[in-house]
Structures are given as structure tokens and as C-alpha cells.
């Protein structure tokens, strides 16, 4: 991060977080807005938010209680969908796949991100070029990434199998997206390939924000770079690493396009995620009932919020570091 930006960042971070003091004594509070100005600023955004986000969420909750097979005459069936969900083998498998993907893969992501950032931080030649080159995949759309990796995983002429054959490991070549025990792992690798650059850049920024004297003090305390990494750098980076974990977690919960284009839920539902299952039940199956997919969406919505809140609470109180 260039020096001026760094200085600006510090100056801003030094300014008080919330400008108005806790208590304001009597008289018309100069900060209080007139109702009109407030409306002028807030109304457009809120109207749009209400109409196209809040109302749809409420409506999905409502739809989950109906059988919408016949659109003109919705049939109220109460919690029938929710009962049926828990016996829906594919839904349970979708939840398992998504949770496996969202809980385990972020460790891999954050670790690679940190490792790459440490390499750049250590002062490798062409660090600037590498930083930009490694960040490119983050900008590609999932459609493009899916097509790329469909070709890489191709059995006959895919890059992966060709490399294995070139190295003589013919036994290892397999239809990566075609076999149920490798398909999910393959998707995880592709998703990690796309997002590793983002984690790297965030870790690099956090590394640059570390106080260099603390590192120097550690060096004087007989710390080689390995000890410094373990005792000083990682502990001080923990808030950023936890933050990255949560971001990766949320990102992987929502993945749809990558799975849909590469495997459509994959061999034997091995890469079925909740998002693809909802889409499949709503738009791909030859039923017109939107009630059941709405029920799935509702259950999934509750699980996502619960998981996000859980992670946030679990990490928050150990995060109060100030340097």
C-alpha cells in the first residue's frame, strides 16, 4: 500500500468512529434532520429495498406454506412442505455438501491466501506484477471460470489429465467431474482457484498494517522468521484471518453458477448444493410448484443466518486487539 494511502488510512482510523457524542443536552438538536430532508435522502433507497428485497423475502416465507402447482388457485397446506423436506434425501445431501464446502474449504482458502501474501511481504522480485496476476481470477465471472475448468477437467484432453499422463501417473487420471467421489473436491479447487487472490490481497494489506517495531522487537527477542510468524504475525493477523473465513464461508454458501454450469448437481447428487437444488426444483423439474422450493429456501435462509451469527459471535470476543 503506497505511503500516502497508508497515511490517509491511519488519519481516518484515528478520527472518532461515531461523530455524535453519546448524550446531547437540551435545545433543538442541530444534528437532528427535518423529516423532509430525511425522506428525500432515505425514501428512494428504502422504497426499492422494500419492494424488491423485503417484500420478496416475506412472500417466499408465505409461498412456502402453499402448493403453487396451479398458479391461479394456490392451496394452503401449512407446514406440509417443511415436514416433507426433512425426509427429502436429496435436500439432506445438498445441505451436507454445502456445509462441508462452506466450513472446510475456507481453511484452505485463507491458508493459501496467507502463504502467498507472506511470500510477497518477504520481498520477492516482481512482487507488484505477481500481486496483480494472482488477483485476476477474482474478476472473472463464474460462467467463464466454469468453462475454463470444464476443459481443464476434461478426461481425454484436459490439462490435469494430460499433466498426469505426462508425468507417468496414468493410473491417477479420472473423469474428475464424472465420478461422485472427486466431483465436489474438483469444484472446491476451482472455487479456491478463483478466490485465493482475494484472500492474498487482504492478508498482504493486513501484513503491511502490522507495526514494524513489534516485529523488530521480536527479532531482538531471539526470534527467527519462523518463530516470528508463529508468535507475532499470525496472532496479530487473527482478526483479519477470521474475517476472511467468514467472508469465504458466506461466499461458498451462495455458490450457484459454478456448480450449475459444471455439474448440475453432479454424479449421484455428489455436488448438489442447496442453491442448485432450489433452482432445479423450481425451474428444471417438470412440476410448476414453487411452494416446495420456497420452503427449501426458507429453511436454508434460517440455517445461513444462524451459521453467520454463530461464526460472528464465536470469533468476536477473541478479536478485541488494539495496536
Amino acid at each position: 500500500m503506497s505511503a500516502p494511502a497508508e497515511a490517509a488510512r491511519i488519519a481516518l482510523s484515528a478520527a472518532p468512529r461515531r461523530w455524535w457524542p453519546a448524550s446531547r443536552q437540551g435545545g433543538r438538536d442541530p444534528g437532528a434532520p427535518s423529516w423532509l430532508t430525511l425522506m428525500v435522502f432515505l425514501a428512494p433507497a428504502l422504497v426499492l429495498y422494500a419492494g424488491l428485497t423485503a417484500y420478496p423475502v416475506i412472500r417466499t416465507f408465505a409461498d412456502s406454506l402453499y402448493d403453487l402447482e396451479n398458479m391461479d388457485a394456490p392451496r394452503f397446506i401449512g407446514l406440509a412442505h417443511f415436514v416433507q423436506i426433512w425426509s427429502d434425501e436429496t435436500f439432506l445431501r445438498a445441505i451436507r455438501n454445502t456445509l462441508v464446502w462452506s466450513f472446510i474449504a475456507p481453511f484452505l482458502d485463507v491458508a493459501t491466501g496467507l502463504l502467498l501474501a507472506l511470500c510477497l511481504y518477504a520481498g520477492v522480485p516482481f512482487a507488484r506484477f505477481l500481486r496483480i496476476a494472482w488477483f485476476t481470477p477474482v474478476l472473472l465471472s463464474y460462467v467463464v471460470v466454469s468453462i475454463l475448468w470444464l476443459w481443464i477437467y476434461n478426461y481425454d484432453w484436459g490439462a490435469l489429465n494430460l499433466a498426469l499422463r505426462a508425468v507417468g501417473l496414468d493410473g491417477w487420471t479420472r473423469a474428475w467431474l464424472g465420478e461422485s467421489n472427486t466431483a465436489l473436491a474438483a469444484l472446491m479447487v476451482t472455487h479456491a482457484w478463483k478466490w485465493a487472490g482475494f484472500n492474498m490481497v487482504v492478508c498482504l494489506a493486513a501484513l503491511h498494517a502490522l507495526p514494524s517495531e513489534v516485529l523488530e522487537a521480536a527479532e531482538l527477542d531471539h526470534c527467527g522468521w519462523a518463530a516470528k510468524l508463529r508468535h507475532i504475525i499470525i496472532p496479530l493477523m487473527r482478526p483479519t484471518l477470521l474475517n476472511l473465513y467468514i467472508l469465504a464461508f458466506i461466499g461458498k454458501m451462495k455458490v450457484f453458477d459454478l456448480v450449475w454450469i459444471m455439474t448440475q448437481g453432479g454424479p449421484m447428487w455428489s455436488t448438489e448444493t442447496v442453491s442448485t437444488y432450489v433452482y432445479k426444483r423450481a425451474f428444471a423439474w417438470n412440476t410448476f410448484d414453487l411452494g416446495y422450493p420456497s420452503a427449501i429456501a426458507v429453511v436454508w435462509f434460517i440455517i445461513v443466518l444462524a451459521a453467520a451469527a454463530l461464526l460472528h459471535l464465536a470469533f468476536r470476543q477473541r478479536e478485541k486487539l488494539e495496536y
Binding site: 507495526p211 517495531e213 523488530e216 521480536a218 527479532e219 531482538l220 527477542d221 531471539h222 496479530l236 486487539l321
Partner: protein, 375 residues
Amino acid sequence: MATVQLQDVCKRYGGVGSLAAVQDVSLTVADGEFMVLLGPSGCGKSTTLRMIAGLESISDGRLAIDGRPMNAVPAKDRDIAMVFQSYALYPHMTVAENLSFGLKRRGTPRAEIERRVNETAEMLGLTEYLARRPAALSGGQRQRVALGRAIVREPKVFLFDEPLSNLDAALRVATRNELTRLHRRLGATMIYVTHDQVEAMTMGSRICVMNRGRIAQVGAPLDVYRNPADTFVARFLGSPPMNLLPARLHRTPTGARVHVAGSEFPLTRWSDAALANIDEVTFGIRPEDMHLLPAAAPPQPAISGTVASVEPLGAETLLLVDTKGGEVTARLHRDTAARPGETVRLAVPASAAYLFDPDGRAIAADRVPQDEALN
């Protein structure tokens, strides 16, 4: 404890030809000595300290501790402790962990660590804060933890990088005395970097004044104060700084006389040999060495001028006088009755005068001064 030798040490950022931050510094810090590196910001004192600590690579020249060459030895193996200006405490560790971290890294047995940490905490009054994190301590307490971290290590050399600059005035004075007492008690070799001359004068067994990457002068505080090697050292030590006025010499059969600020008087302390082939000089006189001459005073070396402003400081009064050679400051008794606009004569005792050659280097006085009134 240990001696520290620097031999023609240089530090260049960038290629060989680029500007040297530190140029040919040669300095020997004796065992148990409290050496102060003094100088304005950017004079290379901190860079020198960091080179000793191993935090900066040495471009060329040799560094040795206890005779052992240190150039190639990494910082972690130099058995040196350093107190940083911003304390550099480990924010994620408690005070106890901060103190014991260095010892743990060197594999000191647990019981020994326990003993030394408690002993040092006791000495610095930190016992009740051992379980706290640095964020929960005041500036003074953090500073003492940083100090404790160094003491616990019982290193060969202590290094201090302007440790007091973040403290408020009262705390700074208290901590200064504590450091001096600590030095006496530990008898450790200490190298202390500061830009505050008061700290240098009061704490240093010897002072090394640095200017633009070079050593201007090394010596006991009072020696350096009394016999500044050049105009820079002269003005840097002493507050308000020494008055330096352009002057011209001319030789007379009875000895050399100096022409300064419109007055003229003989130079009794300099032999003709010392002043050989020098015409233009800089005349120096410290504000405290001058005193007001009443109108009837007998003729003696003095300079006259009109009072520009009077600054009563309570314990004494500063007088700013405009003379032909430039503005002069005099430190006089607090009840001095002088008012701006008056014309005054300020006595310039021969014993207190300094002469500097055109390059700013001091010209040594080689004759014993006799105080006589001679016009």
C-alpha cells in the same frame, strides 16, 4: 557487560554513490558506560543505534561487541535489548508474557524466568499489572514494561531509542532519574539516543553529538558544553544557544585584537601562532556568560546594542539585544531593569569567549586567560 566498538561505520540506502545516512562513524563505548547519541532528527543517530542492534545492515565499516565482530551476526543472536520509542510491546500478550517472551525464546529454565520476571516487576512497580494487556496500561506503565522487557533479559548491551519522547513532562523527568539510577545499579553498558540535550547532559557519562551522519564531538557532557568542537555543537548544547557573531581579526604589535559587533578588544587567550593566517572568524559567547555593564563601568571587552525585547522567565530574564553584528541573547538576573529601546553594554569576559574558524571549527585557546581590564 560489554564494550561496543564502531570502526568507520557507514550506512547507505541505495547504490554506492548515493547519500550516506551514516558516514565513517568510529566510536568506542566502554564497559558499563552510558553513552548518549545526541543530535537533531535525521542526523543518523537512530540509524547508528539500529545498526548496533542489527536491525539495519552495515554498508561498510566494522562493529564489534566485546571484540567479537558483529557485522554478519543477525540481530537475534547479538544478545542486545532495545527499548523502542513506541515501546513496541506485544499487543496480544499480557505484561508477564511480554517480559518472559525473550527468556522463553532463549530457553531459560522456567523457574529462572519466574524469578527474574517477578524481581524486575517488583523493581519497576509492575507487579499488579502482570496479567493485563498493554492496551489496558497508561503511557508511563507501558514505558516501564518496555524497560522491564530489556532488564529481564540481562543483555550485554542496552539500547534506548528516544524512550521518553512519548511521555508528559513530569513523567519524563521522573523516568530520567529512574534510568540513571538503574544504570548505576546494573552497571550495564547503555547506548541512549535522544534529540533532547537536557536528557543528554543529565544522563550521559559521555555524549556523542552527531550531525548529518557524522560524529561532531564525543566527550563528557561538561567538556563538550565548555569546549564545543564546532559551531554546530556550540549552538546545539545550551539553551538559549551560544551567540555566534561574525568577526574579523587584526594583528597589533601588542597581540591580536578582534573586531566584533562594532566593538573591538584584545584576545588574550590566543597566541599569534594559533591565529596564524586566519582573518575572518566567528566569535562565540554564551548568554549566561554576559552581564550588563553600568554606565560608569571601567573599560573592558564588551559589545553594545539596543534592547529588542525583554523575556522575564521568573528564575532569570532573557534580554534580546540588536547589535551591529546581529542579534545577541543574554541571560541576566531576574530583576534586571532594562526596557526595549534602551542602549546597553554587555560585558564579554575573555575567559568565556570562543573563536571558530571560517569552516566553523573551534580554534583552541593556548594561553592562560588573565582577567584584566584593557582597552
